[in-house]
C-alpha cells in the first residue's frame, strides 16, 4: 500500500552533505497504525514529508496506491495529496482568517465540490469531532485541543486513505492529547492508514507498530 525502497534524502549544505534519510526501506500495510519515533534530528519529519508527497526523495522509490510517486511533477504531487492524503500538524495550521467551517471545506473546495455539498460535508465532519456548535467561529476563538480537532476534520474531508500527523499532541496537555489520540484510534477502526510522528511513548502506545529512526535510517521496528 505505502512502501519505500532504499529511499534517501540528502541536503547539500554548502560543501557538506546532510543525509536526512539514508536508505530507508519499509512497507506500511493498508489500515495499519504506526508511530514513528526517534531522537531529534533523526529524520522523522523528513520521512513524513516524503510520505506526504510534500517532498521528493533524492533517490529510491516511493509507491503509493500502486503508483511510483517518487519523481512526479509538482502538479501531480498536489493531485495525490488532494486525493489520498490528510495532514495533521503539531501547530494545527488552520487558516486564521477562515471560519471553522471554511477551514474544513478547504480540501473540498480544491476538489471542486459545489458549495451546498461542501457545507453538508463540513457539518458532518464537525459532528464527528464534536464541534458542530463551533462552525462559525474563527480558529483563534478555540482552545488548542479544539483547533486540533478542526484540523483532523479538515484532514478527513477528502476521505483520504492515509493520515499523516507530525507530533499532533506536541502542543497539547496530556488529557487533551489522549482525546486526540482517541480520535485517531477511531479513524484506525474505520480503516485509515495512520502514521504519527511522536516523542512520547504514551502516545506511541496507541499505535499498533512503532518505527524507531536513528541518523536517517530505521533503527528497529516493534
Amino acid at each position: 500500500m505505502v512502501s519505500l525502497k532504499d529511499v534517501r534524502k540528502i541536503y547539500q549544505m554548502g560543501s557538506e552533505k546532510v543525509r536526512a534519510l539514508d536508505g530507508v526501506s519499509i512497507e506500511f500495510s493498508r489500515g495499519s497504525f504506526w508511530a514513528i519515533m526517534g531522537p531529534s534530528g533523526s529524520g522523522k519529519s523528513t520521512l513524513l514529508n516524503l510520505l506526504g508527497c510534500l517532498d521528493r526523495p533524492s533517490s529510491g522509490t516511493y509507491t503509493l496506491a500502486g503508483e511510483d510517486v517518487s519523481q512526479l511533477e509538482d502538479d501531480d504531487l498536489s493531485a495525490i495529496r488532494l486525493k489520498y492524503l490528510g495532514f495533521v500538524f503539531q501547530s494545527f495550521n488552520l487558516i486564521s482568517q477562515l471560519t471553522v467551517r471554511e477551514n474544513i471545506e478547504l480540501p473540498l473546495f480544491y476538489q471542486g465540490w459545489e458549495p451546498q455539498e461542501c457545507a453538508a460535508r463540513a457539518i458532518e465532519l464537525a459532528e464527528q469531532v464534536e464541534l458542530a456548535d463551533r462552525l462559525g467561529h474563527r480558529p483563534a476563538e478555540l482552545s488548542g485541543g479544539q483547533q486540533q480537532r478542526v484540523a483532523i476534520a479538515r484532514a478527513l474531508a477528502n476521505d483520504p486513505r492515509v493520515i499523516l500527523a507530525d507530533e499532533p499532541t506536541g502542543n497539547l496537555d496530556s488529557a487533551t492529547g489522549d482525546h486526540i489520540m482517541g480520535l485517531f484510534g477511531e479513524l484506525h477502526k474505520l480503516g485509515k492508514t495512520i502514521l504519527i510522528v511522536t516523542h512520547e511513548d504514551e502516545i506511541a502506545s496507541w499505535a499498533d507498530h512503532r518505527l524507531h529512526m536513528r541518523d536517517g535510517h530505521i533503527d528497529r521496528i516493534d
Binding site: N49, G52, L54, D55, E73, D74, D75, S78, A79, I80, R81, L82, K83, L85, F87, F89, N93, L94, I95, Q97, L106, P107, F109, Y110, Q111, G112, E114, P115, R154, N158
Partner: protein, 432 residues
Amino acid sequence: MDTLIGLIEFMTNISKFTRSVRLGIKTLLLHKLRSLLTMLGVVFGVGSVIAMLAVGTGASEEAQSQIRRLGSQNIILHSVQSQQDQSSERVRMSIYGLTYDDEVRIRETIPTVRRTVPAKLIPHDARVGGRTMELRIVGTTPAWFDLVERELIAGRRLQQRDLETRANVCVLTERSARRLLATETMLGNRIRVGANYYEVVGIIRSETGGTAGGVQTPDQEVDAYIPLSTARERFGDIVIRRSEGSTERSMVQLHQLVVEVDELENVESTAAAIEQMLQRFHPRGDYRVSVPLALLRQAEATQRTFNIVLGSIAGISLLVGGIGIMNIMLASVTERTREIGIRRAIGAKRSQIIGQFLIETIVLSSAGGILGIAVGGIIPQIIEYFAGMPTIVPMYAIVLSLGISVGVGILFGIYPAIRAARLDPIVALRHE
C-alpha cells in the same frame, strides 16, 4: 507551462472563478483600510484620466461643433481692408474686398463649386415706432438659408421672387424681432431702415454668432436678411461708418462670400483654386479665405495630441498605482506564507495559488478602477458647475479605464502570485 494551462483552466471555470472572486473580496475586506489605501493609486489614476478626458473632450467637441456650424463643405471668403489702406489717414475712401465679378468667376470657372452665397453686410439702425436697434443688414440670396441652417420660426425665408422684384422685405432673427416688435404681431410689420420700410416676412431662430476656430461665423444674432438686389439698390456699395467724430468710408461690393463645394474631398483643392484666382485679381490681398474643414482637421489633430499627452499621464499614474498594489501584494504573500503552505499541503496546485492571489489583485485594482470612474465622473460635474466649461465623459474612457485597471491588476499581481506559488510547501509550513 503546465502552471499556465492550469491557471487558464482555473480562471475559465465560471463557478470556481466566481467563488474565488468572492473569496478574494472577503479576504480584502478583512483589511478594509489597507485595501482602500492600496487602491488609492488606481482610484486617482483612473479618476484624473477620466476627468481630464471629459474636460478635453468637452472643449474640443464644442470647438468642433462650432467649426462644423460653419459647414465642413463650405469655404468662407471675407473682404478685409489691407494694412496700408488702414494706416494712411489721407485716404478718404478705402476701396477693397470681393467683387460681384469674383463671385461670378468662382461660380462659373471652378467646376467643383456647387453654389455661392454672396452677402453685403451693412450695420444700420432700424426703427419700429419708438424703438431703435442697431441691426446688421445682410443683403443676400435665398441660398443663404440653405448654407447657414437656421430653424424658421414663423413666416417664410427670402425667395427668388424677392430678389427679382427687389422687394422691400426682410427676415429677422428671433432676438431682433423681440427687441423691435416686442408687443406687436411680428409678421407683416414694417421696420424702418434709413429712408425705407421693410416688411417682416419671416423670423428665424437666432444663435449667438462669434468665432469658431478664429473664423467669424457667417450669421450673427442681430441679423436682418434682405434680398441682395434690394441691398444694392438701397445702400449702394459705399458704407459710411461714423465713430467719435471721424468718418470712415469704404467701398465694398461683397463683404462675404460663402462657397459650397460639391464633394467633401474636393474642399481643399477648391480652396486652393479660389486662392489662386483671387491672388490674380487682388494683388493687395484684401480678402481672406477660411476653410472650416481644415480647421476641423486641425482641431481633431490637436485633440489627438491632447489624448496622447493624457494617455502618458494616465500611464504613469496607473504605473505608480500598480507598483503600490504590487508592493502590498508582496507584503501580503510574505504575511500569508503559512496559509500558502497549508493550502499547498492540502493539495492546491501552483496555478490555484497564482489564481487566488491574482484574483485578489485584480479585484483590488478593478475596485480601484470603478471608484476611479466614479471620481472621474463627479469631478467634471463640479468643473462644469463652477467653471461653466462643457464636459463630456466619453464612453470609451470608461471602458478603457476598466480594461486598464484589470490589466494593471494582472501585470502587477502576476509577480507576487508567482512568488507565492513558488514557495516550497515545507518551508512555507514552517514559516512563523
